[in-house]
Amino acid sequence: MQTVLQSLLWAIAALLATGVAGGVAARYKAATPAVYVIALCVCAFALSVGVGSLLGAGGPAPSLTLPLGLPWLGARFELDALAAFFLIVVNLGGATASLYGLGYGRHEEAPGRVLPFFPAFLAGMNLVVLAGDAFSFLFAWEFMSLSSWALVMAHHRRPGNAAAGYLYLLMASFGTLALLLAFGMLAGSSGGYAFDAIRNAAPAPAVSAVVLVLALIGAGSKAGVVPLHAWLPLAHPAAPSHVSALMSGVMTKVAVYGFARLVFDLLGPPAWWWGALVALLGGASAVMGVLHALMEHDLKRLLAYHTVENIGIIFIGLGLSLAFEANDMSGAAALALTGALFHVFNHSVFKSLLFYGAGAVLTATGERDMEQLGGLIHRMPLTAFAFLIGCAAISALPPFNGFVSEWLTFQAILLSPALPQWLLKFLVPAVGALLALSAALAAACFVKAFGVTFLGRPRTRMARDAAEVDGASLGAMFMLAALCLAAGVVPAYFLDALAPVTQALAGARLPQQEGLEWLTIVPIAQSRSSYNGLLLFAFIALAAGLAAEVIHRWASNTTRRAAPWDCGFPDSSPLTQYTAGSFSQPIRRVFGTVVFRAREEVVIPPPGDATPAQLHVQLRDLLWEAFYLPTAAVVGFAAERLNRVQFMTIRGYLTLVFTALVLLLAVLAIWQ
């Protein structure tokens, strides 16, 4: 087992070397395919290692200490069940992104800004997952942040990208600072930075509470938990599409890993209110994310907002699991945790797929604004098909995978009456309502995203002249689409694979799913709930096929093409179609007037004036106004005041240094 970990680390070293070589050789045309092929091979290898060690789990986790990092500590690496699961998520995304990059990367105008950082980013994410001590973890975390920041800034001259990168850098540093403090608190008494030492030290309840909040800030800001999500919808879309997929589909999952590692593994037994806090933040993220997405017309930004929603769903599961664990209901905790982890996997699959689809649209039309697209299903049928499957999966529709993980989370919510705390009794059904609301709104949002982009008639020349993308991109998309269906139709195998992880974190596992009749999944008991995606899929296919066969054979099978009917008044101009803005207007009116203070202003020109009437929609981001603008104002104010310190005389500086010294000595004297 030790050799497995060694070979993994060698593979990561190979990625880093590829990054360096890619930077040097970026001006050669062959560099692009070479870098992506190497990244693909390494990720495929690491993926197989992850699958192997998750399925073959049992026995002590292999660990390794390298003479790097802090001199008295070295760098420790571990591969336990949790790490193996996230290794799969990271490298599945990495492998498909590399495959996609083989095609997509050809259109890159500045490969020198992407090629060095893409493998480095992959290496950083792998190292976070494998790290076995606080120092290596934080180092890898920061490495991952910085390399992804470089990728966000790849097209830094486009309007808005520089600001997005700046905000991302700020939030990432802030998050790392919180994590640094969290690890500092954990290691405080014993001074041990290795995860083993932290795990064995039992922190005081007050310390654990502070660490939980710091972990929520640190990992939550990376994952995009409301209200720390503001950077995410700006930074994720700014990167090249395969990197957007990695950031949205995979890096947010690495953040979830950080949270799970800290709170479930290192922190010891939870208090019940942790679950309430985490689940509530999750519910708020889910609804806010999807409402933002509904108001969005930029395809990639819409997808990024949906990441906020799905991270919310994952945190609902994690919070429930904490609440159950605090009350020694390990079976229920395992169910909630399984739901959350399965959603981690599922979201990484369909979010990557959707970002690849958005990238394909971008390649074919040069456009991310949905209002400029339309009718692409005729020009890009394969992309449209794969994207449709991703849309159905993310909208939690059976028989695809998104439904299964949300269903498991619902089942966990239904177990909450057994919780003794009154706050949780009231809170959990409310969170359930938020989850249901976000699932329904997600379906509306993806009807909009697919319908306006791919269906209807083309709204611009670019959309009319689009052409299908290359084979490598399509291959990556179809692999993920197949996985969406497979994980939805036979979830039993996937749930069983998660058993060692929940066993390690929650102390229990779901009942063995494989081997049940018809591959039904039964999370608690047959009499409570069961779901069978395979049967549903087969029945729907049979029923639809039967209907088609019967009607075509015995009734009619003639079809005539004609102009659209449209109640007798068809208008040939594609501008009369429903747009993304008009599609979401009812929902904007119902929810947006409260959440975004949405206002509509209609400007109708006076009679005789030929200028078109105009409709202006005004949305306000209240969270931005409540949290970010005041913070920025305070920082600006303080900076302005401190500015004077930069222009003092030498006497002034000496006085300042002397006063500081005296003050510190006084503090020390009082402390002793």
Binding site: G375, I377, S395, A396, L397, P398, F403, W407, F410, I413, L414, P417, K425, F426, P429, G432, A433, A436, A439, A440, L441, A443, A444, V447, G451, V452, L455, G456, T520, Q526, S527, R528, S529, S530, N532, L536, A541, A543, A544, A547, I551, A555, S556, T558, T559, R560, R561, A562, P564, W565, D566, C567, P570, T576, Q577, Y578, S582, F583, P586, V590
Partner: protein
Amino acid sequence: MAVILDLGVQLGQMLIVLALAPLLTGYVRKVKARLLRRRGPPLVQPYRDLLRLVRKEAVVADSASWVFRVAPYLVFGTTWVAAALVPTFASGLIFSHAADMIAIVALLGSARFMLALAGLDVGTSFGGIGSSREMMIASLAEPAMLMVVFTLSLLAGSTQLSFIAAALQGPGVGLRVSLALALVALVMVAIAENARIPVDNPATHLELTMVHEAMILEYSGRHLALMEVASYLKLLLYLSVIACVFFPWGIATSGQGPAAYLVGTGLYVAKLTAGGALLAVFETLIAKMRVFRVPDFLGAALMLGILAALLRFVSRVS
């Protein structure tokens, strides 16, 4: 042998719901007509309409893609499967474990997803208006429905319709406030989901008030027939759910023999008759509301659902 029998009963249920669905719609129309002192079309008129439609050629708009042509089959197939998984005359059928109530709601969501996409496919303004409004209605109706499911599952300890029906039939339940709230919420959701008055009018083609009809405006021939059957099936499904959960008397359990099945079928038809008549009376008494009143209507349903669930949480002090 037992397996073959079980499969036969399951197949019987699939055929019964398919056969009864148009009759139910025809019956509701007939009762409504009689209430308005019209004679109304005969009960079998929906079957005749369907037969006529499937024999005609299908006219497809120039700008339509394969989504438009595949959607009717998928919508029909998904709705049919969902309807066949609800216990009608018998519970505990061989495939009833395939989907619990949450999954049945989600299956209807899948059908609606395809339907809304089909509405957008041709690229007309009416299709868009229908899809957009349908998704707005669904975004409120689905959470309300799930809160009803929560309430029921808290009472019965299961989300599986067969077990809920059995548990509510049992002695330990009786009349409860949360059950009443859940029933009201479920009826409101059913009215909205089936595009009935006061949310939508199934008989109108007045453009600006229609939702469901606007989405299927471009359909004709066999495609339209399938969409119509799917909407008939959905109405039957919701009535069956209400009957099975709140009026579970007489539902045969698996393996009780043909006599129990016959009684169950008779009672099921009686329940549908009563439900259909009540729907017709309700629709005749009330006026259609403006589209932006619908969120208030469904918001009330959602609140009732949440209230029902919370009452259950509170009253379970043990």
